[in-house]
C-alpha cells in the first residue's frame, strides 16, 4: 500500500508555494497526499490526520511561529492517542532544529532542502509507522 501523507498549514501563515510544491513532489514519488488548506489549528490537523489514516504529517511553516505551533500539533496528536510522526519544513533557522526535535518533531527541512531528502525522510518515517 502506498504511503499516505497529510500536508498542512497551521496558524495564520498564507505562504502556500512550498506546501503545494512539496505535495506534488511526494505525489511524484508515488505517495498519496492530502492537503488541509490554509489557516488550520493544531486540533483540526490532528483530527484530519487520524481520520485520513495517514502515515506522516508534514507542516509547512514560514512565519516564524514554528516553535509555538509545531509542538502543539505533536501534542494534539498524542493526546488523541496517535503516534503519527510530524515533520516540519519552511523558514526554520538551524538553531531552532534541536528545540523542535525535543518537542517530538521527527524531522526538519530548512530552506533549500532537496526533494530527494524530503521524499527519503517521509518514506523512512512511514516505514517505521507501519511496522
Amino acid at each position: 500500500m502506498s504511503v499516505r501523507v497529510l500536508v498542512a498549514k497551521v496558524g495564520l501563515d498564507g505562504h502556500d508555494r512550498g506546501v503545494k510544491v512539496v505535495a506534488r513532489i511526494l505525489r511524484d514519488a508515488g505517495m498519496e497526499v492530502v492537503y488541509t488548506g490554509l489557516f488550520q489549528t493544531p486540533e483540526t490537523v490532528a483530527t484530519a490526520a487520524i481520520q485520513e489514516d495517514v502515515d506522516v504529517v508534514g507542516l509547512s511553516m514560514l512565519s516564524g511561529a514554528h516553535l509555538t505551533l509545531a509542538p502543539l500539533v505533536v501534542s494534539a496528536l498524542r493526546e488523541r492517542g496517535s503516534t503519527i510522526p510530524v515533520v516540519v519544513g519552511g523558514i526554520v533557522p538551524p538553531s531552532d532544529v534541536a528545540a523542535l526535535r525535543d518537542a517530538g518533531v521527527a524531522d526538519v527541512f530548512g530552506p533549500g532542502a532537496s526533494a530527494e531528502s524530503i521524499v527519503a525522510s517521509v518514506a523512512a518515517l512511514a516505514a517505521e509507522t507501519s511496522r
Binding site: H15, I25, V33, Y35, G37, F39, G64, A65, P111, S114
Partner: protein, 545 residues
Amino acid sequence: MTTESFERWRRDYDAARLRRPDFSTMSGIPLEPVYGPPDGEFPGVYPYTRGIHASMYRTRLWTMRMFAGFGTALDTNRRFRDIIAAGGTGLSTAFDMPTLLGLDSDDPMALGEVGRCGVAIDTLSDVRDLFDGIDLGSITTSMTINAPAAIMLALFVANAESTGVPRARLGGTLQNDILKEYQAQKEFVFPPRPSMRLVRDTITFTAAEMPKWNAVSVSGYHIREAGSSAVEELAFTLANGFAYLELGRDAGLPVDAVAPRLSFFFNAHIDFFEEIAKYRAARRIWARWLRDHYGANDERSWQLRFHTQTAGVSLTAQQPENNIARTAIEALAGVLGGTQSLHTNSMDEALALPTEKAARIALRTQQVIAHETNVAHVADPLGGSYYVEELTDEVERQAEEIFAQILDMGSGSMLEGCIAGVESNWFQRRIAESSYILERSFNRGERIVIGANGFTEGNDDADLDLLTITNDDERRQVERLGRVRASRDDDHVRHALDRLATQAADPEANLMPALIDAARAEVSVGEMMRTLAGVFGRYTEVPVL
C-alpha cells in the same frame, strides 16, 4: 531629423531641475541624458517604455524605501528612526500576521504570531507609538496591508490628525490590493465582492480628501514570490490594475481620477534582462491600455509608477553572504528598469527577519548603485539593445495573450474576469503550475542555485547571527491591548461599531468616515474586522494542488 517625441522630451528635460551640474563618466567623458535615434522613443513621452520622467534619475534618485516591522510599535519606531538616520528616504511598514488578517493580538488564533513577521497593531495607541517623532507631513509612508487596509488607513489618518497633520498633506501608499491576496499571498478575510467594496471606498475617499495618497499599490511581487513566471507576474498585476480602474469607474469616478492614484509593485528576480524587459513592457502596456482602451486623457494616468523589491525567493539559507551579490544584481535590474522606489532584501532573510546590520548592508547596496556606479546618469541605458528591445516586445505579446484570457472569463470586463479567475482558481492553478515547473528544473539540476544545488563548499561555515523575536513581545502587546481596552470609553466604542455595522450593510455607503470615527474611539482592528465580517461573511479557499 527630429520628431515630436524628441521635441517634447527636449523641452521637458530642459525645464527639469537636475540634482548635480555635471554628468560624466569616471574618466570625464560627458554623458547625454539619454541615447538613441531622434525618431525613436524618449523617456517622459508616451508610451514611456524608456521611463516616465524626461530627466529620470538626473532630477531625483529613486526612493530608498526599506520595508521594516517587528515586535511592538515601539520596536519598529526605533528601526524607522535608524532607517531615516542612515539615509533612507521613505518608510514602509510590515505588519504581523494577526494584523494582516485583522485579528487582535489577544485572539487565540494569533498565538505565536504576534510581532513575528512585522509589527503588531491593535489600536490607535499603537499607531501613535509607531510614528512617534516622525514628521508624517514630510516623509512618505507605505503600509503593506490588504484585507484590513481601509481600517489601517483610518488609523493612520486619525493618528496624523491628532498630531496636527491634516489628511490632505499625507503622502504615501496603501497596498490595498486584495485581488492578489486571493491569487497569491492568501491574506484574505472577506469574500471577493465585499473586499472590493472596501477597496472602492478607499479609492473614492482618497480621491476626494487625500490628493497625495496612492490608494492601491497593485502588486506583482507576491504573485512572483508565490511562483509565477515573469510574464504572469506582469500580466496578472496589470489586469488587477485594470480591474481597480473599472471598480472606480463603476463608482462614478472618471478614469483620470483613479489611474494617477494607482501605483505598482514588482519583483526584481535574478534573470537580469528578463526583469528589465518586464518593467519596460509594463510601462508601455499600461500607457497604451489607458489611452486607447480606457480613454484616459491625463498623461499622469498613462504613466506607470512602480516600487521594486528584490526577490525573497532567490535568497538561500546556504552561504547566506552570497545573497548580498544576488540582491545587488536584482536591485540593479530595478534601477536600469526605471523604478521609482526600491527595497533591497537582507542576506539573512531566508532564515529570519533581518538584523539591523544585515538591513544596513542591504540599504548600502542601493547606495553603492546610486552613488558609485554612475548607472543613474543616463535614462534607460539598455534601450536600443537588440536583445532587450526584442525581449520587451515578447513579454508584451505574451502578456496580451493573458489579458485576452482574463477578458474572456469576464465577458469583456477585466474586473469580472479577475474575480471569476479567483473564484475558479484559475490564477492559483497557473501560479502553482509555474512554481512546480521551476522547482522541478532545480531538482533535476537544470537550474543551479549556488549553495543549494551547486558549489556547496562552504555551506558548513559558521552561521550568521540572526534576529530572534521572543514571545515577550507577544505578552507585552497583549498586556498593552488590555490596558487600552480598560481605559477607553465603552459607550463611544459601542456606538462606533453600531454605526460601522449599519453602514456596512448599505452597499452605497462609504465606510471610511465610520472607520476613522472608530479608530479615534480606540476600537481595535479585530473589533472592526469582526463587525464587518458579521455583515460581509468570511472567505474560505478551496485549495488546489
